[in-house]
Symmetry: C2
Subunit: 313 residues, 2 copies
């Protein structure tokens, strides 16, 4: 991957596995779009273009790692990998269901992709066509939010929001003499009753911790929804099909430039920006990096098979 000087190194249990970075035409170097967000025990597959099944093999990720599928829209470079992934789940006898989220207007396309060729469908797929903006899922630990963007066809952006939590303050724990299994009880119950009126409250030994946020803004003109999705995101994945010098093309085809993606990141107060979905017209991604880094510090121009950590809070 191409890193801006302002990229902050570090590791995280949550990461983006980049499966492909091309826009509508793949190249020798770039497969069609495709992303796996590893988020605790879940794997969210976003916009799998053609060839995603093999890119998963190359990334060393079994298809069973995918628990949810989020599509922004039904242009081929964002969904033609769906049949391969669904069929492979049945071939590998994956037992857990796959929950699929996509713009409801694309139901006929999803139906065709799901039954594009002959196979024995044993792995379960649970479809969640999305009619309107808002929260489409709340797991109790994080929420999945969809919001309509402004592209040539009906398109959704996605946002994964961890619920806010707390960060334990070890010195406060020590002051109150809480240790061992009591810490777990305190975290679980929010209080620890040690008898004789000796109650430790979680809020007294912790500080609030904002939940992590991942945002996925694909194929869109600049619009308010893109900003709202990106608001305070720890990791923002944003299409940057064009360079600013081709802003007329970006406008005509309802896409972003590297500069406009970086402006969204800056205005939304995002922490790290991943640029992807690059047009084949640019043989090298250096200019994308330079253009974005001039506006926003922590930028990555993604290459196929990169792994980008979600910056920890």
């Amino acid at each position: 991957m191409l890193l801006a000087p302002g990229y902050r190194r570090g590791v995280s249990a949550r990461e983006l596995v980049v499966l492909g970075t091309a826009s509508q035409a793949p190249t020798r170097r770039r497969n069609h779009n495709g992303y796996l967000l590893r988020w605790d025990d879940e794997g969210l597959l976003l916009d799998p273009g053609e060839g995603t099944q093999r890119q998963l093999v190359r990334a060393g990720v079994p298809v069973s790692a995918v628990t949810r599928l989020c599509l922004t829209h039904f242009h081929g470079d964002h969904c033609l990998g769906v049949p391969g992934v669904l069929q492979r789940r049945s071939l590998d006898a994956v037992e857990h269901p796959l929950h699929a989220y996509y713009p409801a207007s694309g139901r006929p396309y999803f139906e065709r992709l799901r039954h594009a060729s002959s196979y024995v469908e044993t792995a379960r797929t649970v479809e969640h066509p999305v009619e309107q903006d808002g929260v489409v899922l709340d797991t109790g630990r994080w929420r999945l939010v969809a919001q309509h963007l402004d592209h040539r066809v009906d398109t959704l952006g996605w946002r994964v929001e961890e619920h806010d939590g707390v960060r334990i303050l070890p010195e406060r724990l020590a002051e109150r003499g809480v240790r061992g299994p009591d810490v777990g009880r305190l975290l679980r119950d929010g209080r620890l009753d040690r008898g004789d009126g000796d109650v430790v409250l979680l809020r007294d030994v912790s500080a609030p911790r904002r939940g992590q946020v991942f945002a996925f803004v694909m194929d869109t003109r600049r619009c308010d929804a893109a900003l709202e999705l990106a608001r305070g995101a720890d990791l923002l994945v944003c299409e940057a099909t064009f360079l600013h010098r081709d802003a007329d093309l970006a406008d005509r085809y309802a896409h972003l430039t590297a500069r406009s993606a970086a402006e969204i990141a800056r205005e939304a107060g995002a922490r790290r920006l991943v640029l992807t979905h690059l047009s084949q017209r640019y043989p090298l991604p250096d200019e994308h990096l330079a253009e974005a880094a001039a506006v926003f510090p922590d930028v990555v121009v993604a290459e196929d098979l990169d792994r980008v950590p979600v910056p920890p809070r």
Copy 2:
């Protein structure tokens, strides 16, 4: 590519461009199935699996080189590349139509593949669902023949047969004093009238030349149709999913082994055999080569992006 000692080197204007060589699961090394037969001014795309669009890029072949599409059956590894190829033809504004041949029972699948996602279909596709065995096309120079094989779903094998022609004998031409543009006239008209009863007949200055034959035998148990398709083929492409030691699996899933493919080539009097569609269970293809070469001399175990000449006559 892995060549047997009996492989005869040489070049030919007609060649097989190997786009992928895996069976149902792609590997780091092998893309899903896919083959382009370059045959004079035509390009026959056979069984494009997922990722074929990008494999064409890697092979340096524009999608406009494809003039016909032949599918053996509608398992994903033989057809999930169809949407990408059709959509790319429209994107590239290819002007000539694509003629698509496939088993008629698969019409609903072809329909879904053709309209799998949202695009503006400007390039023409002319569908030729095949109901029964026999000649499905005669261009005047060559014929396309289909014949049903024996797989788990309705499956066709394919055969391209050049019409028999003649080979000019230069010494006979010299004897009769035919040269320059007269040679072309003689070839075109079969005779050359030089006045005063001086007529040269083509047959007097040439020898018969058998037309070239290409055969494509995919996903099948051993059956009479496989032998008939392969009869006298200059180039036989044959699936060899398994090795003989796994003949029980080959039988259970209605596939061939390297040995049985070589036996078909030998019994059919083929000239060159290309083995492909290898199961991912075999990390290396050496055993496929050894097993087949023990039965039939001119064997190639195909690797992705190989180009295999059709041996000239």
